[in-house]
């Protein structure tokens, strides 16, 4: 074929192709006269038309060809040297990357390891940093049932990897099925597994990803746990604001074995491991998953984990299941029971009773109601095996009836479109939300501590958002989608007032989602700030263009308010005050022109918020002034007949704020007067709204504040009463809602208060259990904020002071020495805790002051000891 020839062929071919098939023959007749070669050439090519079809060189063929190629390229790691290891072969692939068999290349003895490559598509720098932090502890975990973590690093391409002890074995569920282990045998192997988990807990490591795939049983029957704490290293850091964080969050999650609190993004505790062990045990004994799902999608499973009660194991062995779930196990009951060397009926009987109750207890949605430790679970299982009575019992009816059992009943993971609908929905202003009386069983408010009591805000409108804001992976997804949508909308919105208002409202909501979550970290706060500022920018322009428009103005005030809140949380006090100062004249004007109770409430709110910030900065005199102003505006509207309870609640907040300020300026009598007013209001409100948890929280706070005031006046018994009331309230709140970190902290503080009062009465012994409970409470908080750190430091100090009191009474010098040594130990703990607190953020004047005091006490204690 020559180019010229090809030209000719092309020409005829092209025309032939454009003709309908039946006309081609005659066309070729004409064109190919005297040139048979041409004709056969063209006919050959034409034949290809049918065979090639549209796929040959079609759109999808490129994609398929490319896709098939490129991943394989990455697998050419075989034979490569990675760090100190040389890779031999691939032995598996997980969601996070491949796993290879490798050996140490630089050593005489060739120790084989499993090399896990982390390809979760995240910022590898942060993965490496987290790995370094965890490495010490993880590498120190030496236990016969735990696969050792050996090493880690990055390849030249910057891909992180982890080297672990190589375990060859089967997942525990497969192993037990393969060897048809009986229930008792399965329990025994499970006990070994739980020993390992318990061991890790004692070393302060939570596994976080317990599942059969991570529990391999070797040929000699030894179970080995893999990947301890790896999930923590791989967890995308929300503060990093990484665009892919949402994707990875979902990919890492295997909801089937995850605890409810893990799915909703709450802090994980040892109880979370207990839960996951419970799921594994459930599957070991029944061959089924605790939750029936139809589609098997992660969303459906996550919903079930958080909101659906698991089926009793003894029932589960009798239920009919779609083959899909789980795919690797037999759907037939006979097969299931045969794998357990039993029959369906015998299996059901075996599981009925103790084992049912034990497993269900491990699977409780509320971590507080599960076994408190893996050890407890183990003991119950051992008791069962020894035919002794077990701890786990049936649910009691009253608890099931309680409304507060399941915090996550509202949809945990909502679809993106639903949220967008919410966001784009009506531009509900604060004004309208306050008017709309929606029944809220749990308006989750965050009163921080006694000092910060004044700085909370009631936002009924955001309740539905709050349930969302508890679920971190879901929330991240929503926020990302929302931001994308909004930013794209912003480009088109200029000139269209109503669209702009909608846009501003939506930015507000995104800001709320980020800024009002229970444990907003700095990353979230920065994001919230950004969002609010965007909303503010739009609204300021609108306000300038539409002067004296009350609804635009109240929106604007809304923004100033939110902004000041977030700025305060970010510790930018002067920024927060500036923003409030900006908004004040607008609020004043609004209240003057509209002169309705709500506008006045808003204006009062500005003063109150200002007071709250001034309390933080220590400017107590001016804070008191601010609170007095808010009171003067609010009193008339709150005491009017038919006034909304909200005004009265706000007024109570005003009083408590004033009381706090006056307590610190030394005007005890006036402070007491104000706190009594506040207390009175709150007690009344709480009585008429007994199910409102928020009011109970306020009330508890008020008691915690009134107690020291009474003490100052010399009425110790009343102070004790107040602290005990607070203790009761927070104890109750804490039980009903274990995720409420504020209730826990205040529970601890009220314990310290009780102990303090006892000591003032010179009654030391009853103080000890209170202080111990406080210590337990604060130590038990996994992610401590500064308030919690403060509590921990104070409780150590309280213990120290209690021993000091004992020492002072002690006559024998050996007894005295013992007490003083105890005091020293506790003071040292307190000192460390204060130091930790001061390291965790901007210097807190109180922390510095208290830290210094502890050091002084420590010095004195040492000198006392030296004298003996």
């Amino acid at each position: 074929m020559t180019p010229e020839r090809w030209d000719r062929v092309k020409e005829v071919l092209a025309t032939a192709l454009e003709l309908p098939p039946h006309e081609r023959a005659s066309y070729l007749d004409r064109q190919c006269i005297g040139d048979d070669a041409l004709r056969s050439e063209i006919e050959l090519l034409l034949r290809g038309e049918q065979e090639a079809g549209s796929e040959f060189l079609g759109e999808s063929s490129f994609a398929e060809a490319a896709t098939a190629l490129i991943p394989i390229e990455d697998h050419s790691w075989i034979g490569r040297r990675v760090g100190a290891y040389r890779i031999v072969e691939q032995i598996g692939a997980g969601g996070m990357g491949e796993v290879y068999r490798a050996f140490r290349a630089d050593d005489q003895y060739c120790k084989e390891v499993a090399l896990k490559v982390i390809r979760a598509g995240q910022d590898s720098n942060s993965v490496i940093t987290r790995f370094k932090n965890e490495r010490q502890i993880l590498a120190s975990l030496e236990h016969p049932n735990i696969a050792r973590l050996l090493d880690g690093g990055t390849t030249e391409d910057g891909v992180p990897y982890i080297a672990m002890e190589l375990i060859e074995g089967r997942p525990i569920t497969e192993y037990c099925d393969h060897f048809k282990l009986s229930i008792a045998e399965r329990l025994r192997i499970f006990l070994q597994v739980s020993s390992a988990v318990q061991f890790a807990h004692e070393h302060l490591i939570i596994h976080r990803d317990i599942k059969p795939g991570n529990i391999l049983v070797t040929t000699d029957g030894t179970p080995k746990l893999l990947d301890f704490g790896i999930a923590k290293i791989l967890e995308a850091d929300p503060a990093a604001g990484h665009a892919d964080a949402t994707k990875t969050a979902f990919r890492v999650l295997t909801p089937r074995y995850s605890s409810p609190e893990q799915i909703s993004g709450e802090p994980m505790t040892t109880a979370s491991d207990v839960y996951s062990l419970g799921v594994v045990l459930y599957e070991l004994l029944t061959g089924r998953s605790p939750y029936r799902v139809t589609t098997g999608s992660p969303q459906e499973m996550a919903q079930a984990v958080c909101a659906v009660d698991p089926q009793k194991p003894s029932f589960a062995v009798g239920r009919v299941e779609p083959v899909r779930n789980p795919p690797s196990q037999p759907a037939e009951l006979d097969e299931l029971s045969a794998a357990r060397s039993s029959s369906p009926e015998r299996l059901r009987k075996r599981l009925n009773g103790d084992l049912d109750n034990i497993i269900l207890m491990a699977l409780k949605k509320d971590p507080f109601r599960r076994y408190r430790s893996v050890e407890q679970l183990q003991e119950d299982l051992r008791r069962h095996l020894d035919n002794l009575p077990v701890l786990a019992r049936n649910d009691t009816a009253w608890y099931r009836a309680s409304k507060f059992v399941n915090r996550h009943k509202a949809g945990v993971i909502l679809s993106g479109t639903f949220v967008l609908a919410l966001l784009c929905g009506m531009a509900i202003t604060l004004h309208e939300a306050q008017v709309a009386r929606r029944e809220r069983a749990r308006a989750e408010l965050r009163f921080n501590d006694v000092r910060k009591l004044a700085n909370s805000l009631i936002f009924e409108i955001h309740d539905s958002m709050r349930d969302l804001s508890g679920a971190t992976p879901a929330r991240k997804l929503l926020v990302t989608r929302a931001q994308e949508y909004l930013d794209s909308l912003a480009k088109e919105a200029s000139g269209d007032t109503s669209l702009q208002r909608e846009l501003a409202a939506a930015y507000d909501r995104v800001g709320d989602l980020l800024g009002y979550s229970g444990a907003a970290n700095l990353g979230d706060l920065a994001g919230a700030l950004q969002s609010y500022k965007k909303a503010l920018a739009i609204r300021e322009v609108l306000a300038a263009a539409n002067p004296h428009n009350p609804s635009i103005e109240s929106d604007l005030l809304n923004d100033y308010f939110h902004l000041s809140f977030v700025l305060m949380d970010s510790l930018d006090y002067s920024g927060a005050l500036d923003v409030l100062r900006k908004g004040l004249p607008i609020a004043q004007e609004l209240a003057a022109t509209r002169s309705d109770p709500i506008s006045k409430d808003i204006l009062a709110g500005f003063y109150w918020k200002t007071g709250g910030i001034l309390l933080e900065t220590g400017d107590y005199a001016h804070a008191a002034d601010s609170f007095r102003q808010s009171i003067s505006i609010r009193e008339p509207i709150a005491t009017a007949s038919n006034s909304s309870p909200q005004f009265r609640t706000h007024l109570a907040g005003d009083y408590m704020g004033l009381a706090t300020a006056l307590l610190n300026t030394g005007d005890v009598n006036l402070a007491l007067e104000a706190s009594n007013k506040g207390l009175h209001l709150l007690e009344e409100l709480s009585r008429s709204n007994p199910t409102n948890a928020t009011l109970r929280e306020y009330l508890g706070e008020a008691y915690n504040l009134s107690a020291p005031l009474s003490e100052k006046k010399g009425d110790i018994n009343l102070a004790l009463e107040y602290y005990s009331d607070a203790h009761r309230i927070f104890g109750d709140l804490r039980t009903r809602d274990p995720a409420n970190s504020l209730a826990r902290a205040n529970f601890g503080f009220s314990d310290l208060g009780i102990a303090h009062e006892f000591q003032l009465k010179r009654d030391i012994q009853p103080a000890f259990p209170r202080i111990r409970e406080a210590i337990e409470t604060f130590e038990g908080i996994e992610h401590k904020n500064r308030y919690d750190l403060e509590g921990q430091a104070k409780s150590y100090e309280a213990m120290a002071m209690a021993y000091q009191a004992l020492a002072n009474r002690e006559s024998s010098s050996s007894g005295k020495a013992h007490d003083l040594r105890e005091e020293r130990t506790w003071l040292q703990k307190s000192k460390t805790a204060w130091e930790q607190d001061s390291r965790s953020g901007a210097p807190d004047p109180l922390a510095i002051h208290d830290g210094a005091r502890v050091r002084k006490e420590l010095a004195q204690c040492e000198s006392e000891l030296a004298k003996l």
Binding site: M1, T2, P3, W6, D7, V9, K10, L13, A14, L17, E18, L44, L45, L46, G48, E49, E51, A52, F56, L57, E59, S60, S61, F62, A63, E64, A65, A66, T67, A68, L69, I70, P71, I72, E73, D74, H75, S76, I78, G79, E89, Q90, I91, G92, A93, R119, G121
Partner: protein, 192 residues
């Protein structure tokens, strides 16, 4: 693989358009790098439903490199032509490397999931295509370029027509006939 030049891509493209060959050479590694990076990123998601659309890749590379939305179509055309070439080079290189690894070397125990094994059999043999395209280029360079733009660059008929500077009707005919010739060439070879 950074090129010595730190000139922005737009400038390089403009220079190339006015006949500066060295500008094209400077562009090659930039484009190549970017395409590889994007392709790697797409692939690292490791989900089988995540297929590689050539247009998307090239568009993205373009956006990243050019950073200039309102660019002369001619410049874009040049860019796409270059990108298509690069794309072809990348993929064919990979295919050849992989083929070499299979033939020579140690016994590799690569764990491949069944899905991809099956689809690979149905997949286009990129090496054969490349060889066939080289032969086509000796017969009709313009046709080869059209195939490159359409298949590796993902351009539409219209876009291809503009890039090569012929009418869409002609482009269609060229594409249709080239396809058939390639098919015939590749299938007759595979019978050997």
């Amino acid at each position: 693989m950074a090129s010595g030049s730190s000139q922005p891509v737009t400038e390089l493209l403009a220079r190339w358009k006015s006949g500066d060959v060295s500008a094209r050479d400077a562009l090659v590694p930039l484009v190549y790098d970017e395409l590889r990076r994007i392709a790697r990123r797409c692939m690292s998601n490791q989900s089988s439903s995540n297929t590689l659309q050539p247009t998307a890749l090239v568009h993205e590379a373009y956006l990243r490199l050019a950073r200039h939305d309102s660019m002369d179509w001619q410049d874009r055309a040049h860019f796409f032509a270059l990108a298509a070439q690069m794309m072809r080079q990348i993929l064919v290189d990979h295919a050849r490397k992989q083929a070499a690894a299979k033939r020579g070397g140690n016994a590799l125990t690569v764990v491949v999931d069944e899905g991809s094994a099956i689809s690979r059999e149905r997949n286009l043999d990129l090496i054969a295509l490349d060889d066939a395209m080289k032969r086509l280029a000796s017969l009709d360079p313009r046709q080869c370029q059209i195939v490159e733009l359409r298949f590796f660059g993902g351009l539409s008929i219209e876009e291809t027509a503009q890039t090569v500077n012929i009418s869409p009707a002609t482009t269609k005919r060229e594409w249709a006939t080239a396809r058939l010739w390639l098919y015939q060439t590749m299938s007759s070879h595979s019978q050997l």
